[in-house]
Amino acid sequence: MPLSSQRHVRRVKLTLVPHILLFTLTIAAISTLCIAPVALALAAWSWRAGAKGMFVDAIAALPLVLPPTAVGFVLLEILSRRSPLGALLERIGIEVLFTPKAVVVACAVMSFPLMFTAFRVAIETSDRRYFDVARTLGASPVRAFARVTLPLAWRGLLSGILLAFCRALGEFGATILIAGNIPGRTQTLALAIYDRVQNGTEREAAVLVACVVGMAWVLVAISSVLIAQQRRRFAA
């Protein structure tokens, strides 16, 4: 291939970077928004349940310790036409596998444990006495939680959201199994880096890596500051 043509191809591929970046950020944001209410409800339940909650804690943490490909395989089985859920989705005309929806599902499942664990710790450190006192003042458990526990735990909760968002940005193993690596359709930043390395275009891979490292570093730094503030606030 003449040199001028190679330059043209490289320029074209680099112009895809903003698109991949935007797609990855959108997917990470949607998946984070989807799991936040579930993680909050489950963390609140587990907190109130005490010892019984440990069972839920263990299940919620599973995707954190399993190989992402194992999680991807389970998701593939659950969402395939052979499973009752997959069959039901097909009947009502919802296609999930190898679509952007599958990317959201993979990111959501893989980032859920981080968010849940961060929420659990944030709620735990907010001092249960305030919740108890609020109830003696006539507040129902939901109102006491919403008006007292949540405002006291907001730093830890926000930190959990940021961590989950970062995890979603970098999700790879489960995504490639259930969403594939389709450029312009399901290809996220992590998949694009893999793609560029496979194709020998390391310079483009480096640009993408720089993007993801920059974003993750800022977000994790903010998260660490929030966690430290939360700890300091209740240490006394």
Binding site: R129, Y130, D132, V133, A134, R135, T136, L137, G138, A139, S140, P141, A144, R147, V148, P151, L152, R233
Partner: protein, 344 residues
């Protein structure tokens, strides 16, 4: 009338308390770890005890009939030891958390003198101010019963005096109170009935002055007086006051010059001197004639209950034998002014 019959397994023993309380203020006395806080938390519904808790015929807990009202439906005000004000809400918002009744808010703010604090954050308040705000917040719910868990613990003397004044105002509102303390003199200052807990069980129960006169229960024996009607004499360095029982006491002027009355003062039973006949010349400003109502002797110590008062006096057995003290004997007592301590 409050009927309590609860069982709650704790780390080192099972809380097993059965008592009926009809007094306006009941003191729950006991050493640290005796189960006081666990009992009030059970009454507030914050611990899942079994048994029965009934306030004015309304069951809050009746395990036999499957009744266990959640805290928000018990109408029991609870002021924990450290006040537990919500740190993210200002004082006014903390108080309104208990209810939105504007009139009640205004009257509580006035009674507890909270107006200057309303816009402050809880973190900027002193221990005594936090207790007052927590008290107002609990009272906003119009509780059937108020539980106070050691409100004077970790509060210094001048503030303690003010808090006790406010607690007496709350007592005068007529809301039944259970007041947790490990200081017998605090119990005597506020309560007319006393329940003593030991390792989760009721060790003694009865009128505060009777129960807390027992050194085995109280550890040291204190005489507590609510005094009012001060007549200051700065030149002589004394202030004459009248106790609620009608006794006239002389207190050191400089200790009470700035105090708010009515004031609660205490004197240890060890600080009262007994004479067989009227002392003719003595520095003590408080000299009374009395009659020995009862004597209790143990291990070289004799505890006397003297009327009028009643006053608790503790002397050695040698002194009691020397004075030939028997029940009904007439004696004279001297109470040093400077031996009085201000409770609040």
């Amino acid at each position: 009338m409050i009927e309590i019959d609860v069982r709650l397994p704790l780390a080192h023993f099972t809380l097993n308390v059965r008592c009926s309380l009809s007094a306006n203020v009941t003191a729950l006395v006991g050493r640290s770890g005796s189960g006081k806080t666990s009992l009030v938390e059970s009454i507030a519904g914050l611990r899942r005890a079994r048994g029965r808790i009934i306030i004015d015929d309304i069951p809050l807990l009746d395990s036999d009939h499957g009744i266990d009202l959640p805290p928000e439906r018990r109408s029991v005000g609870y002021v924990p030891q450290d006040a537990a004000l919500f740190p993210h809400l200002r004082v006014a918002e903390n108080i309104r958390f208990g209810g939105n009744d504007r009139e009640r808010f205004d009257s509580l703010v006035a009674a507890l003198e909270l107006e200057p604090l309303l816009d402050r954050a809880p973190a900027s308040l002193s221990g005594g101010e936090k207790q007052r705000v927590a008290l107002a917040r609990a009272l906003m719910t119009q509780p059937r019963l108020l539980l106070l868990d050691e409100p004077l613990a970790s509060i210094d003397q001048p503030l303690r005096e003010r808090i006790l004044l406010y607690l007496r105002r709350v007592r005068d509102l007529g809301i039944p109170m259970i007041y947790v303390t490990h200081q017998p003199f605090e119990a005597l200052a506020l309560s007319s009935w006393c329940v003593v807990l030991h390792d989760g069980s009721v060790a003694a129960e009865g009128p505060s002055r009777t129960v807390l006169a027992d050194p085995a229960v109280a550890g040291s024996v204190e005489n507590v007086f609510e005094v009012s009607d001060p007549h200051h004499d700065p030149d002589l360095g004394i202030t004459r006051v009248t106790t609620s029982e009608g006794l006239t006491l002389v207190l050191p002027y400089e200790q009470v010059a700035d105090a708010r009355f009515p004031l609660v003062v205490r004197i240890s039973a060890d600080d009262i001197v007994v004479f067989g006949e009227r002392p003719s010349s003595i520095s003590s400003r408080n000299v009374f004639e009395g009659t020995v109502a009862s004597l209790r002797s143990s291990e070289g110590i004799v505890d006397l209950t003297v009327m009028p008062g009643p006053l608790s006096v503790r002397i050695t057995r040698a002194a009691a034998e020397d004075l030939r003290l028997v029940q009904g004997a007439s004696i004279w007592l001297a109470l040093r002014s400077r031996a009085f301590r201000i409770v609040g």
